[in-house]
């Protein structure tokens, strides 16, 4: 059975590119150009995953509206936002969408497909793919399901945050900003976007363990994990 993906994007060319790439990987794709079309389409059939552009024509926050509608219909459906600006990141977090993710434009089509794959894997994570868990002190990382836990308590990270954390753990000397930008595997990422991600990762860990203080800023370089 192939997964059904909904793409909501107002630019027909870009929409076409995403659709072609995802279809080539065996997914079933529905394309919508605006909010009304999308909501109408969802009422016919709910997708298994949605890719939403935030700006839909004249509606600056149209993607968020679609997301809210989708969440109302089925809270479990994963969403990937397509953003043009790093500072929209906070708004995405503001929605508290859990493990859902985002992609900055310009989008690498290869990476979009990979990310869709991994989101579906996360969805099935409870049933399979238990292997390959990496343990480093109190932290456990499952690269397949992109699940992390701290002192045996699950920390809900987005796939992007998981990638950044993985890169941070890979080198005991710490990871430079450039390394972390590469780890997100997204087009061009501002330094400040990485800072924002680190801020959110720290917050999520502190939610689980208020004493958490393992990610240290190394000014002029990047960050390092100091709890090994």
């Amino acid at each position: 059975m192939s997964y059904h993906i909904a793409i909501v994007e107002d630019d027909p060319q870009q929409r076409e590119h995403y659709a072609v790439a995802l279809r080539a990987n065996g997914y079933r794709v529905s394309e919508y150009a605006n909010r009304d079309q999308a909501i109408h389409g969802f009422s016919q059939q709910l997708p298994d995953l949605a890719v939403l552009d935030i700006i839909l024509g004249s509606e600056v926050g149209g993607g968020f509206e679609v997301c809210r509608e989708l969440k109302r219909l089925s809270p479990q459906i994963p969403v990937i936002f397509l953003t043009t600006r790093g500072d929209e990141l906070d708004k995405i977090y503001g929605l508290q969408l859990g493990a859902w993710d985002y992609q900055t434009k310009p989008v690498s089509l290869d990476f979009l497909v990979t990310r869709v794959d991994s989101l579906f894997k996360i969805k099935q994570s409870n049933t399979s793919h238990q292997a390959e868990v990496r343990v480093l002190g109190d932290i456990e990382m499952n690269p397949v399901t992109m699940r992390a836990s701290w002192k045996h308590v699950a920390v809900e990270l987005t796939p992007t945050e998981f990638d950044i954390l993985a890169a941070l753990l890979a080198n005991p000397q710490g990871a430079s900003i450039e390394d972390l930008v590469k780890a997100t595997r997204q087009g061009l990422v501002e330094d400040n976007t990485i800072n924002t991600h680190i801020l959110h990762i720290r917050k999520k860990f502190k939610k689980v363990d208020p004493e958490f203080n393992c990610i240290k800023t190394r000014y002029g370089f990047g960050y390092c994990w100091i709890c090994q």
Binding site: R85, G86, D87, D90, P106, S176, G187, L188, E190, D191, N192, N195, T217, R218, Y219, G220, F221
Partner: protein
Amino acid sequence: MGTRMLFFSSLFLLALPWLGYRYIDEMKNFLLQGQEDAQLLAARAVAVVLNGRAELFHPVDEPGDIAIEKSALYVYPLEDPVEVDGYSGDWGVLQQQAKIFGRESYIYDRTGGSGQAVTFSLLLGEYRKNLYALVRVKDENIVYRNPKYRRLDHSDHVRLELLTPGGERKRIIFITEGQGQVSVYEMMPDWKMPETGKPLYAISGIWQERTDGYNLELRIPGSWVGTQPHLMFSVANVDSTIERQIDSIAATLEKEHTGKLNRLITRSPQLDRILQGLGSADAGICVVDRYRRVRGVFGGENETALCSQKDMVSSELVDIALEGSQSVLRYENAEGESVIVAAQPVYTDVEVMGAVLVEKNSSHILGLQRESLQKIIIATFIVFLIAIAGLMLFAAWLAYRIRKLQKEASLAIDADGRVVSEHITADQYAADEIGQLSRDISSLLSRLKSYTGFLESVPRTLRHEILNPVNTISMSLQKLDANIASESLLNSARKAAQQLEMIVHSLTEAAHIEDALKQDEYERFDLAAMVSEYVNNSKLKHGEGRFKYTGPESGVYIMGSDLRIAQLLDKLKDNALDFSENKSEILFELKQLENKVELSVTNEGPGIPCDILDSLFSGMLSSRPIKDGRPHLGIGLFVANRIALQHGGELEMTNLAGNKGVRVSFTLALIS
């Protein structure tokens, strides 16, 4: 400053009339107090003269029988002689002072109280040593003398008993057969028969009927009464023309003093003379004896309201003086004028024998006060008018200046929002708020102009920067069209696309830095430790020899966002790297200055042209030499300056001496 001055000056104006009123009121009190003191002093001066001179109060020179003293008859000094005609009109206001003798003064009553009461009043006056008397008898039924009878006690008549200066006691009867001249006889002690048949002509009297009785007006020569007069009047009433018996006799001395006579109290001529010498024209002086009887008066009618035309003065003031203390009283007389009276006791050797009253009308002081108040009101009104006129002129002047400024300011920007003139000339040198406003508008306009300039330069800079990668992509595509596909063509196209992305990202970074900065959470952190670590990490990244840090390793605390300061250092480092000579050292320096810390980044290399030093941080301006494939929009320093401003500092760029390098610095406030 102008408004505050305006406010205070108007407050001061409001206080003026009140102050004036207070001043005048105080002045009035002061003047009244002064006058009281002056009057007390005058009273004391008079009292000192009179002290110990009991003979002045003659004839009451020593305290006698109190009852006799109380029944003493007061003789009013007359200013003009009265006409002896039986009519009371020429006695004037003195008529009110007439002493009334009613039934209680009967010394004989045949009817035992059942008969009709016959009462009389007596008024005595003195003019040039002659004694005048007005006896007004109230008698419904007048019985005249019938010449058939020899005895003189068969009709209504008036008796006078007196002591001549020679000490001889005389009984005189006034009797008549009708209105007009009365017959005067000297009588035997039993009041029945005359001593001789001859009437007395020295004493004259006129009998005049009234509707309810009769008047008897008399003139008695001074030689009959002397200087210490003692006499007694009595009125005999006969009601029946048939019986012709005396029904009652009312007398001026009560029954129990039978045989005695009334004393006559006159003004003391000696006292009057002394007072004339002591007194002044504008004050009234009045001397009373220990029985409160007026014994001497000097001064005009108005000045002695308390004493004139009165035989006795009853006032608390006199009581106090007679007890031996001085006192002052202010009161309003019948005309509503304010009067001040001062009283001083007069002593014999041992005791109080009388009192001196000095009375003065103080309405002239109140008049003065009213006049001053009027003047103050007029003056205040004029001052107000002047102040209002001044304020209106000031307001008009301000309005004129503001209008001029407004006109010029509205003309400084044209309809399309372009800055036409960046300098306002109106009031540019004025030292007040309007001058400040004018200068502020000027600086606002010049900043607006430089910002407009920045906006206008964006498309030009962007065109230049964007055209390059677009050109590369377009050439690569042309080659691809021609089927000359090669890996290097694709790579250059990708690189060009990346450059375009970077341009767009830097633009968005600059556009959103303000909002992003406002959302930062500030905390206390160690700037020295941070910079030191930053330089060490930069050494790892770019090579040991490129960076150097001088300054403390830790212990320099500031409030702020450490990540933003790191971002700022990134921008300064990038700038220094771009401008430095190959491999030359870049110096990070941290200096503590009292409660501030200065952070600077210095690199060797070409200096910055002086004309663009000031505008380097406004963005979109770059004069850096092209070294790599990165676009240069000059946005790095703009973002760095924004961060510094948000932390309370400002970037400052200076060329090193000899144009051998550039130093960028900013200063932040330390916290303890």
